[in-house]
Assembly symmetry: D2
Homo-oligomer: 242 residues x 4
């Protein structure tokens, strides 16, 4: 098996980090996101990163907080989301759940869910997404089920094994990518030699590329049975004779 | 918009109901599952239903309970799962979570996760799945995130809006499909005129068919970067120079 | 049965609303929180409300964002939390989960979890808490399990039925307390005549008062086996002969 | 600080293990449950263990499966639950969630939720409970939030830090209590020297004893505002003038 002969260079991927740390250089989740992004870049995918706390993001089920006088960089971010074929959301784990910032990110995306794509489907149809979770407490799967659920519910296709992450043994300790903990040097950095994490991170990156390729080549998802306007005109759950 | 001109008649769908009721005629979830199945049948999909409690299913992270002397119909069900392109899991809601029977179903599928398909990928790669949830208490989304997470984690592709369901207003009351409650006739049956449920049920059925079609035409998911044997030979998260 | 003869007038309760709406007069969750608070006030409990979005709250696992130059009203809120015997967290439901604002609230409380009370126990020992959830989509129980888990994990006692809420039938529709929907008047306001919601709201308010009373009369929870300093000096899970 | 001078010898605790392994000697969760039980026994608490898969338990929202011809040991178990002041539920983690067997256990307890105690409160009022979770994948907190939510919702008081558990670093590996893994001896057994797990296990055991003591001395929870019959006669959420 060799690297794919498929061309992925027309694909765009957006990685958004929902870390709660003001200083992005301290985000452990970013370290794993970078590994994932590197795989995509190696295949020619156009990758962009957003660290959400670098921006002022208003709260609310709103499209643009500036309309009622709030600072709000969201509309610019929404444009990038719409331009991307692949979305990867990163989140740390606190008390077993995804972060406030990752939650805010999903709320703001959801606020556009009344919009339609050019086929009349929900806005995010035709895109694919996944998530990357790290923490030193447990909760990768719980955070992932929450994020992946939201993504598919608003229109994303979720490929197999679309989540990856790293946590340590129960209790406090070094976090992903740490090179020092409790006064001791760690080499390789924490988690870098974890083949479970490395493998899942690899699977996810490739499955997102495969799925984006398939969707793009297919012109998205056929607009039959899945549009607000049209679902009652085909076989449906409401009437026996559409 | 008319019905699809696409041919779905080579697809197989399996609906498995994880109701906890011994008598399957009393399952409200089955009523909504039947509506979903009817849409697929109308497009030529070969649909089969399994009511899990009609069968003896052993507990455990095991492939066949008969090997240690337990009654176990699972291996026959596993064969049907492997033969199906589409899997739809039904579950009632109790205390806000999916049922014990639906949990058992997922555990038994998971027990095969060490197996590989003919491309060397996890066994369930190339298939797509969704879920149908009903209750008179709340929890559709919570049950769905749990089930859909499990499906994608073991290899299923999860299309947009792969969950549907019905619940009533907070508190006890009539359940989906009931024609009588508290001594009063209900016509149409409870939930049948809920356009949110009808629409989501329709979207899900069609998106599962679209995704199964796309996967089948594509020969499944390309086996690059997502096999136990091969992931270290392509761009990956472990080494910088594979 | 009559009103309690017990005196609750030495108790303080704090209600914090994690709504994502800038304008607090539009929060449906607040309407149900007010009903709950009214029960406590009728028994002499000193009740205070905080609408979190009225304040600037910094992100991070930090005690005071002002230390690194951010606007941050949290330290004042933390003081009120510490002064209260009872904490009630309100949250709306978006995509089946609690809000970003409620998540932020819990993160900031968690940032103090290294502190100890005057017995050497985790800071929040001796207090009791619950939650109030509304939405027009489903998810009361899922949001409640998330919030109540966090509360007990950081030291709160969680009484029976410490959650209450209201949701409507699956799909969009009027929200709790609405007096108009889709051009029609609603009287009584949406959900006000829901006896399930009324009963659970009542049970919760009283159980929080009973539990706070019991804890206060008992001087909190005895400091045996539950302090960082002392747990290895009593019967414990580490050594057979402490 | 020394061992408590409080007398706990009139308390009963029931530990129920929801492992999915037929052979209970192979349950890793049982090893940690035994450590917890040992703490309670050292203080004179009368402790009993049930390994649920040692028994035939029928599915359904039913009190006794024998009534419709099924083998069912549940009624005997329900009697033990009712006789116990403290309930501790153990569960392994599979795909990030609690087991099918633990789910079945909670469903069967829930089936009695229409019954009342001798004060007219829900049946389980006056009792306290917690949970113990192990796995080699992550999910302690997610399983715990699910189980503890169910317990408080049906009437249990949940003390601070009522959950404990052990998991290893992300990926497969030795499980709690293993003395050998991948051909190598492990001494002390896996997880035994994890102070996070040891501490939380200790905190939980003591907090359950403290809470059970407090509830028993208090005659349970006062029956004001929390009974089906009486809640409308005191300050409540339904009427302004009860």
């Amino acid at each position: 098996m060799s690297n794919a002969t498929t061309d992925y260079s027309d694909l765009k991927a957006l990685y958004i980090n929902g870390s709660i740390k003001k200083d992005k250089t301290k985000s452990h989740t970013q370290v794993l996101m970078n590994k994932s992004a590197k795989i995509m870049k190696s295949q020619g995918v156009d990758v962009e990163h957003i660290y959400l706390l670098d921006h002022a993001i208003a709260y609310g089920m709103i499209k643009d907080g500036k309309e009622d006088g709030q600072a709000d960089d969201w509309p610019m971010i929404q444009q990038k989301i719409m331009a991307a074929d692949i979305l990867v959301i990163g989140s740390p784990i606190w008390l077993g759940v995804k972060s406030s910032v990752a939650t805010l990110l999903i709320e703001r995306m959801y606020a556009y869910s009344g919009d339609r794509n050019d086929k009349g489907q929900y806005l995010y149809y035709g895109k694919t997404g996944g998530c990357i979770i790290t923490g030193n407490e447990d909760g990768i799967k719980h955070c992932a089920m929450d994020i992946l659920y939201a993504l598919q519910h608003i229109g994303y296709m979720v490929p197999p094994q679309a989540d990856c992450g790293w946590i340590g043994e129960a209790g406090s300790g070094a976090s992903y990518g740490d090179t020092e903990w409790d006064g001791k040097k760690i080499d390789p950095p924490t988690g870098f030699d974890n083949d479970f994490t490395n493998r899942n991170t690899t699977f996810m990156a490739w499955n997102l590329m495969h799925t984006a390729r398939m969707l793009k080549d297919n012109g998205g998802i056929p607009e039959v049975g899945n549009t607000t306007e049209g679902w009652q005109n085909v076989a449906n759950a409401k009437s026996d004779n559409p």
